[in-house]
């Protein structure tokens, strides 16, 4: 039988906490930026302007057909190279920044689809009503359609945030130490990889379970 050795976890708590902060940082930034870009994409995609809607549609299709790991590698290996070629500063460590940008752009394509569905769920009469009141189509979107759409989408947007929170663990491929990265490194250093991986899995399970239960309750309240 395998004998577990949990002794390296208590000492590692401060580092794990730092890692968790980084995980949350990436999550929050990507959720906010992703939702802003996603809203713009969704509005473009539904616009009557053919060029705008094609552009938005191809952005969404591109990002959704490529694995997140691949997107992270693009940003980890290629974008710094690109920045170097343009700016000419080779010693910049922009891994964290690349992670922020990669997750934001990637999540934007997922948020765009959720928000588009939300906008489409608002009845057409609301648009006509807004226009009849003398609003421009931009004002109608901003003041009438989007607020209603967002209220309906809150549970879906939050669920996507929980998925994103889990996906941030993939910054592992960029060599960044988020919560899971710290757990893995600690386990590797102390020879307690088994315990640290199980511990990390348990922490994720508790956080995501509580969060998704809250979202479910919220959903019931809204519906």
């Amino acid at each position: 039988m395998y004998s577990f050795d949990w002794s390296s976890i208590p000492g590692a708590i401060p580092y794990l906490w730092e890692g968790m902060i980084r995980t949350l940082q990436i999550t929050v930034i990507a959720v906010i930026a992703g939702m802003i870009i996603g809203t713009i994409l969704a509005v473009c995609r539904l616009s009557k302007n053919l060029a705008l809607s094609t552009l938005a549609a191809s952005y969404v299709t591109c990002f959704r057909s490529v694995p997140l790991v691949m997107v992270l590698l693009w940003f980890y290996l290629l974008v710094p190279d690109l920045v170097k070629k343009i700016v000419g500063n080779p010693s910049l460590d922009i891994r964290l920044l690349s992670a922020f940008v990669a997750f934001s752009l990637f999540e934007a394509s997922y948020y765009a689809e959720i928000i588009r569905a939300g906008i489409q769920s608002v009845s057409k009469g609301q648009v006509s009503a807004g226009l009849a009141l003398g609003m421009t189509s931009g004002e109608t979107m901003r003041l009438i359609i989007l607020p209603q759409a967002f209220r309906r989408m809150i549970p879906l947007l939050l669920t996507q945030a929980i998925i994103l929170f889990q996906d941030t663990s993939l910054v592992y491929v960029m060599g960044l130490a988020d919560f899971f990265g710290v757990a893995y490194n600690t386990g590797n250093r102390d020879g307690t990889l088994v315990e640290l991986i199980l511990f990390a899995g348990f922490v994720y399970l508790v956080i995501c379970f509580v969060a998704s239960t809250l979202v479910r309750n919220l959903q019931k309240k809204i519906a």
Binding site: M1, Y2, C62, S65, V66, P67, L68, V69, M70, L73, W74, L77, L78, D81, L82, K85, I86, Q166, D167, S169, L170, Y172, V173, F180, Y184, L193, V194, I197, L198, A200, G201, Y204, L205, C208, F209, S212
Partner: protein, 249 residues
């Protein structure tokens, strides 16, 4: 930007691979082979396990539906990467018989492949089960009752009446789960499986031609995506049921 574009040289794919064995184009295509075989084997596992769990969740009683729900909660609330590391690093250490078989009988390549298959299969099963459940629920209780009235037992009602219809209804969502699964196989590169994404990265490092190799890998993923979508659209229209959403009149 312009210099990067001007520097692109796609002849690199015809160069022989460092360490022998064909050129870089075939090197990437073999990676795609690993990606697809991983996706297909895990899909079979996910489909079987997901169907069982999905059915459990629609049964009467207290215990079995709760077990199904517990399964879904566990597999949906732990990140895929962590699950993969549990299958690859943790389970062979702590599960006695499986561990010896795993560590002594399998070559490293197959250790990675088996772990990744189990991980992706059970992970995707949680998502498939949700679709199967909603497919069965959408049929209404009447079908179930009708089956029982005809003298079928519960197992027969499910395999002969409910599931065949439920599967047809959920083909579109199952397709998107399969597409997700193909994308998720890239996570297997973290335990060293040299599938498509990993080979793209390797090729970039061997040849210092990162842009070309990444462009090729991205295009290959996109092509696979497109092909799966086309196939599923055909299956969908061939199995469409009259009287359901999008069905024949």
């Amino acid at each position: 930007m312009a210099t990067v574009l001007a520097d692109l040289d796609f002849r690199v794919f015809m160069q022989p691979v460092v360490g022998g064995g064909g050129n870089y184009l075939t090197y990437l295509l073999f990676g795609l082979g690993w990606t697809l075989s991983l996706a297909i084997t895990s899909w079979i596992l996910a489909f079987v396990v997901g169907s069982v769990i999905g059915v459990l969740r629609t049964l009467r009683g207290n215990v079995l539906p709760r077990l199904g729900a517990l399964y879904v909660e566990i597999f949906r609330n732990i990140p895929l990467l962590v699950q993969l590391f549990i299958w690859y690093f943790v389970l062979p250490e702590i599960v006695p018989l499986f561990g010896t078989w795993f560590k002594e009988r399998l070559s490293p390549e197959f250790q990675q492949f088996v772990s990744a298959t189990l991980c992706l299969g059970f992970f995707t099963a949680a998502r498939v089960s949700e679709q199967v459940r909603s497919g069965i629920m959408s049929l209404g209780r009447g079908q179930y009752g009708a089956g029982l009235a005809l003298g079928f037992n519960t197992a027969q009602v499910y395999t002969l009446i409910l599931l065949p219809v439920a599967y047809r209804i959920i083909i579109p969502t199952l397709t998107s789960e399969f597409l997700n699964l193909i994308k998720n196989t890239a996570v297997a590169s973290t335990i060293g499986l040299v599938e498509l994404a990993q080979r793209g990265k390797n090729m970039g490092e061997y040849t210092s031609r990162l842009y070309e190799s990444f462009i090729a890998v991205t295009i290959l993923y996109a092509i696979v995506n497109l092909i799966v979508m086309l196939i599923s659209r055909n299956i969908e229209s061939a199995t469409r049921l009259p009287g359901f959403v999008g069905g024949k009149k």
